[in-house]
Amino acid sequence: MATSDTNTGPSLLYRLVNDKELRSVAIQVITIALLFAFLFYIVNNAIVNLAAIGKDYDFKFLSEASNYDINQHLIAYNSRSSHLTAMWVGILNTLLVAISGIVLSTIVGFILGVLRLSPNWLINRTVYVYVEYVRNVPVLLHILLVHGIVVNTLPIPKNAINLADSTFFLTNRGFYTPKPLFDPAMWAVLIAFIVAIGFTWWFRRYAKKVQDETGKIYPVFWISLAAIFGLPVIVYFLAGSPMDWDYPVLKGFNFKGGLVLRPEFIALWLALSLYTAAFIAEIVRAGIQAISYGQTEAGKALGLRDNRIMQLVIIPQALRIIIPPLSSQYLNVTKNSSLAIAIGYMDIVATIGGISLNQTGREMECMTIVLGLYLAASLTISSFMNWYNKRMKLVER
């Protein structure tokens, strides 16, 4: 009969140094403890030093009137609104330029990426030169250049360029378009639009099912297009055209009425999009070239035309390689939009992180807000991209 060994084995200290597992756990615990101690020290240091010069850390200033005006505000705002409202105006402006930048840069980037692989020598080389130039110049210079061009070459409102017989005006104070004024009956058109989208989504699944079962191919693209545009238009006319236009008119110094795209927004949007498009073009080219030529040959053997091969065989596989670096580029667009302050575009850094910070003297609180908002925006974008990436991933056994 074996007796249990009453000896407890080597001492804890000995095991801490020599036992691999225990040692690694101990090191991790100690590292985390040191990290937290360091963070605590930093925060405490800031609080103590701020108190020493008489500054406290509170957000009460957000409810005070801001006393400054902002030229582009997507929500109602005037100089009597609070700093909190100014913050929301800034956030909306940042999101506006980030999302429009992401959309335009993706479209242009994909087109440029595919063109870069064109067998036509001129197109190929032109895109190459464009990409190399854009990538190697800092984005701030692009922004300043586009803004300089827009402000200096376009005319002042008195001599505005008018397009389409005085409906659109192009000046160095902005691009003016008519603004649609909606009657309440417009809701019917909106509902028709949503119904059309729902129908398209259902129809795509149905058509795929039919194709799998019987091999009959419906022209899904054209039918969806007809539905999405046709249905709302029909409902629009049935409801008696419930839409009027507010035309921009030159009154005194500037145009009044209509919608306006400010030159700061246009410059930032174009510069950011064209800059990021160059990077996306290279990512797309890398993704497409990573697919072995055997896939194209197999497609040709099946009798598919070149553009169908690209659309049905190459791009779906290339997307797996393209999406992860693409999400980095989207985050870059969002963060590069903070350069807006260089040309006077009132984004989050310019409103709460700039004017509000300066007028109230609350640097720590304002910077905390700005950092928190950029972090939230970036995490949202990257989590969406991660979800999309998971959907596209190669599902292995």
Partner: protein, 341 residues
């Protein structure tokens, strides 16, 4: 073990490398350093801008040099820290500069809330509007709907919002960071109006190709007393800067100029005011931590207030500013220095 050691050492290094609270003895710091750090603007012609050779010149710059001469004996021992409207106060509070001479308006919130101490007024100014003559505008009340170039982080921004709201007018604010950016946008036609202190407008207009094609509208919509600032909490340094400013104004009132100060400092004369400033009577320098020749050095470096004014922004300069409110109280203005006694 190696990993643990590196972690421990790096943590200790990180803990040790923290910055402490600023010390209160700015005068001692400046004397030990041998150089005065002066926070100025990035470039406003006449008030503070580097000339072609890179040497800083201007109205505010001369006051910095006077302070350096009084404290260190040499008006050239100044390091100029250019800042924008947004960064000037954080630069002062963080210790990047010892004194701020940056045509900055004295306001209650800046004095109390931002923890600064203002030391007097070196220029009484007001906010005005600059428009091209071609617009045909003769009064600020005709500016409804205009685009206005405005520098961020300034009192002019707040005054502009207040003025237009009070007069029921709307405008499009075009925010700019620096004077240069504002000039470019104004001349390109991005904005119809450029607004800042009237002295800044004169300075800006003087640097245009055709200065006479632009006019400053008659409305002055605010009080902008411009003056130097230091950090709160250092009374001795505040006294030094305040009394250098006061003595330059008092010197003009007493008739002391850059030309005759050396003569006055050699022997006491009949005028006790002049004697006290020139250091031949009493020891006022010791009261603020300096020696008897503090005022002599300051005045012989840059002259009295009137000479500083005429050199950089007076009627014979491109800015062409009249003394106006900035004349001595005995000559129709409101400059009134407390006596050195």
């Amino acid at each position: 073990m190696k990993l643990f050691k590196t972690l421990a050492v790096s943590a200790a290094v990180a803990l040790a490398s923290t910055s402490g609270v600023a010390t209160a003895g700015t005068l001692q710091d400046v004397q030990a350093r041998g150089e005065l750090n002066c926070i100025v603007t990035t470039g406003v012609a006449g008030f503070g801008a580097p000339n072609d050779a890179g040497r800083w010149e201007g109205f505010d710059v001369d006051f910095c040099r006077a302070t350096a001469a009084a404290v260190l004996g040499d008006p050239n021992k100044v390091k100029f820290v250019p800042t924008t409207g947004k960064t000037r106060f954080t630069a002062l509070n963080s210790g990047e500069g010892d004194v701020l001479y940056r045509n900055t308006t004295i306001t209650m919130s800046r004095d109390a809330d931002l923890k600064l101490t203002f030391l007097g007024v070196n220029y009484y100014d007001g906010q005005g509007f600059l428009v091209p003559k071609a617009l045909g505008v003769t009064s600020a009340k005709q500016l409804d709907g205009a685009s206005v170039c405005i520098q961020t982080g300034t009192t002019t921004e707040l005054n502009l919002a207040d003025y237009f709201r009070a007069n029921n007018m709307s405008y499009e604010p075009v925010t700019i960071e620096t004077n240069e950016e504002g000039q470019v946008n104004y001349l390109a036609g991005r904005c119809d109006v450029y607004t800042t202190d009237a002295s800044g407008l004169a300075s800006t207009r003087s640097s245009f190709e055709h200065p006479n094609a632009h006019i400053v509208l008659p409305e002055i919509i605010s009080k902008e007393p411009l003056g130097p600032a230091v950090r709160q909490g250092d009374d001795q340094w505040a006294d030094v800067v305040r009394w250098v400013l006061n003595v330059l104004i008092a010197a003009e009132e007493a008739g002391i100029t850059q030309g005759n100060i050396m003569g006055h400092s050699k022997s006491a004369g009949d005028n006790p005011d002049i004697n006290r400033i020139a250091g031949t009577e009493g020891d006022f320098g010791a009261m603020i931590g300096l020696d008897k020749q503090w005022a002599v050095r300051a005045i012989s470096a840059v002259g009295n207030y009137g000479e500083i004014f005429e050199r950089s922004i007076g009627v014979n300069t491109p800015l062409g500013l009249a003394r106006g409110l900035n004349a001595q109280w005995t000559q129709g203005g409101i400059l009134y220095a407390p006596p050195v006694r």
